[in-house]
Amino acid sequence: MRGPDGREVTASRPFEGQTSASVLHSSAVRDVHVFFGLDKGGLVSSCKAVLSCANQVNPTSRGNSLLYGIFPCQKDDREALTRMADVYVPKLDALRTGGLDVSGARRAVRLILIGDYAFMKSWVGHKGASSRMPCLWCIAFRRRTQGNGLLVDTWGNMQDGSLTRGVTRTRGHFERMAEAYADCDNSESAAPLPLEEHFSIES
C-alpha cells in the first residue's frame, strides 16, 4: 500500500477484528490482500470462483490460487452472476471481519475484486456498460449527444480522454443504494430513483 505521496505505508498495528465487513481498516494495520473473482468459460460452459492472495511470489499463477467453486451455467448474465456471488458473500464478509491467521498472528483481509467487467458490475449493482455512466469507477457519460448536453456538462464526458472529470464513485454511495434496493431493484420499485440519485447503480 502506498500513501498519497507515493511512499509505502508501514503497517505495524495488529488486527483486532471489526464488526462490519464494509468498513475499511486502516492502512497501518497489518493485512493480507486477498482477491476474489468469478468468470465464465471452458469448453463445457461453467463459472469458476477463485480466491488468491497477493502477498506471494507469482500471485496470478494458477498454481498459487484456490479454486473456490464451479457453477455449471449457460449464461453469465446479471441474474446468474448475482445468484452465484450471493453464495460467497457471507463467507467473504466473515473473512473481512475475522481476518486471517498468518504465522500465528491475526491479520486483516483487504478484499480486492478481479474478473471481467460483467462480473464486477453485477457485484456492485451497476446496471451495465450503457451510454449513461458506463464506468464502474466514475460517473462520466460515454459521449455527448443532442439530448444529454447538460448532464455531460455536469458529470463529465468519456471522450475528453485523460481530461474526463467524472466524479469518482464512493463506497458510501454503494451502501446507500444497497439499502434503497433491499426489497427490489430500481426498475421494479413503485417510485424508481432518478439517474441523479442512483448513478446507474440500479440493483
Binding site: L38, G41, G42, T60, R62, L67, L111, G115, M120
Partner: protein, 325 residues
C-alpha cells in the same frame, strides 16, 4: 465494496487495447480508401501478424489474441506500422507509430506482478494520457472506449495505491478454464455437476504445481545467448519456424495450418465489418461523403494479396504437399 478496491482488469485491458490498435489501422484504411483496400489491408494484416509477428488469433477470447501474444504484438508492432504506411497518409502513420510506441512502453507496467517504482507509476500516468489523447487528436472517428477510459483515468490511481497492476490480474482466474478442460475427463461421474464437485475437491486437497515445479534451471533463450550471437533477421530465415517450413522441414500439421488459416480469415473479416460499421457511422454523424473508389496509379500498383501474397502461396503449397503425403 470500495471502488478503489476493484482491479482495473489488466488482462482485459491488454487484450482489448491491442485489438483496438490493430482495428484502428483497418479503420484508417477504410476511412481514406473505402472497403476494397480496407479488405486487402485486413487480409495482409492477418498475414503479417502470422509471418512477421508470429501470432494467430485464437478461436476463444472472441477470436482475439492471447495475453502473451498481445505482448509479442506490442514488441513487433513496427511490422504492422510498415504495412500501414503503404496504405494511409504519412500523418496518420506517424500518429499510429507514436501510439504503438507508447503502448509498448505501457504494457510492461500493466502486466508486471512485481512492485513498480513511484517513477514508473508517474511515467505510466503520463503515458496513458498521452496514448489516449494522442489517438483522439489524430483520428477523427476514434472514440474513447470504456477500456481506454479505465486505462488512462483509473488504472494509474490503482497503481499509485497498490504499487502494482499485474499482481491483481485476472490471468490466474482464466487459467482455471483451460485446466478444467484438460482434466475434467479424469473425474468421471454421472452428471456434470458431480464432475465439478470431484474436481473442486481434488483441487482443494492437492494444489496445482506452481511455476517453480516446472523450472528445471537451464533455459535456451536466444535473447540471452550473448553478444554476437546470430539472430533471425528475416521471416524466411531458416532459424525461424516459418523459414524451416519454407525450406521443407516438417512444420504444423495440415489440419492445424488449415485451422489457422480459417481463424485468420475470420479475424480479418470480423475486424473489417467492425471497421466498416464504425467509419460508416462516423460519416453519417459528420455528414461526410465516403472517398471515391480508389484507382491505383502505375507507381502504386498492388495486388489483392499484397506484400504477403508470396508467403501465403508458400504456406498453401506446404499445406498441399502435406495433404498429398
Amino acid at each position: 465494496m470500495d471502488p478503489t478496491h476493484i482491479s482495473p482488469m489488466p488482462l482485459h485491458l491488454t487484450l482489448g487495447i491491442t485489438g483496438a490498435l490493430l482495428l484502428l489501422g483497418i479503420e484508417a484504411v477504410y476511412f481514406h480508401h473505402g472497403a476494397t483496400r480496407a479488405s486487402a489491408y485486413a487480409t495482409n494484416l492477418s498475414l503479417a501478424l502470422r509471418f512477421a509477428v508470429g501470432v494467430t488469433p485464437k478461436p476463444y477470447f472472441g477470436g482475439a489474441f492471447e495475453g502473451r501474444q498481445c505482448q509479442l504484438i506490442a514488441r513487433r508492432m513496427s511490422a504492422v506500422v510498415e504495412l500501414l504506411a503503404s496504405y494511409v497518409p504519412a500523418a496518420d502513420v506517424a500518429a499510429y507509430r507514436v501510439a504503438c510506441d507508447t503502448w509498448r512502453q505501457l504494457l510492461p507496467v500493466l502486466t508486471r506482478a512485481g512492485d513498480s517504482s513511484p517513477e514508473d507509476a508517474a511515467a505510466f500516468r503520463a503515458g496513458t494520457a498521452r496514448f489516449v489523447d494522442g489517438l483522439r487528436a489524430a483520428f477523427p472517428w476514434f472514440t474513447v472506449t470504456p477500456k481506454m477510459h479505465t486505462l488512462c483515468c483509473h488504472a494509474p490511481d490503482f497503481l499509485d495505491f497498490f504499487g502494482s497492476l499485474g499482481r491483481y490480474s485476472e490471468q490466474g482466474l482464466e487459467a482455471w478454464h483451460g485446466h478444467f478442460n484438460q482434466t475434467a475427463a479424469g473425474h468421471p461421474a454421472d452428471s456434470f455437476l458431480a464432475t465439478c464437485l470431484s474436481y473442486v475437491k481434488r483441487s482443494a486437497v492437492s494444489r496445482a504445481p506452481g511455476d517453480a515445479a516446472h523450472n528445471r534451471g537451464a533455459k535456451r533463450s536466444p535473447a540471452k545467448a550473448g553478444p554476437g550471437a546470430r539472430d533471425a533477421k528475416r521471416p524466411d530465415d531458416k532459424r525461424t519456424r516459418t523459414g524451416k517450413i519454407l525450406a521443407g522441414a516438417p512444420g504444423a500439421s495440415a489440419s492445424c495450418v488449415l485451422k489457422q488459416g480459417e481463424d485468420r480469415c475470420k479475424w480479418a473479416k470480423d475486424n473489417l465489418a467492425a471497421a466498416a460499421s464504425k467509419i460508416e457511422a462516423h460519416w453519417r454523424r459528420t455528414k461526410e461523403a465516403p472517398p471515391d473508389t480508389h484507382e491505383p496509379c502505375a507507381d502504386e500498383a498492388w495486388d489483392g494479396e499484397g506484400d504477403y501474397g508470396e508467403l501465403l502461396e508458400a504456406e498453401t503449397a506446404c499445406m498441399l504437399s502435406l495433404l498429398e503425403e
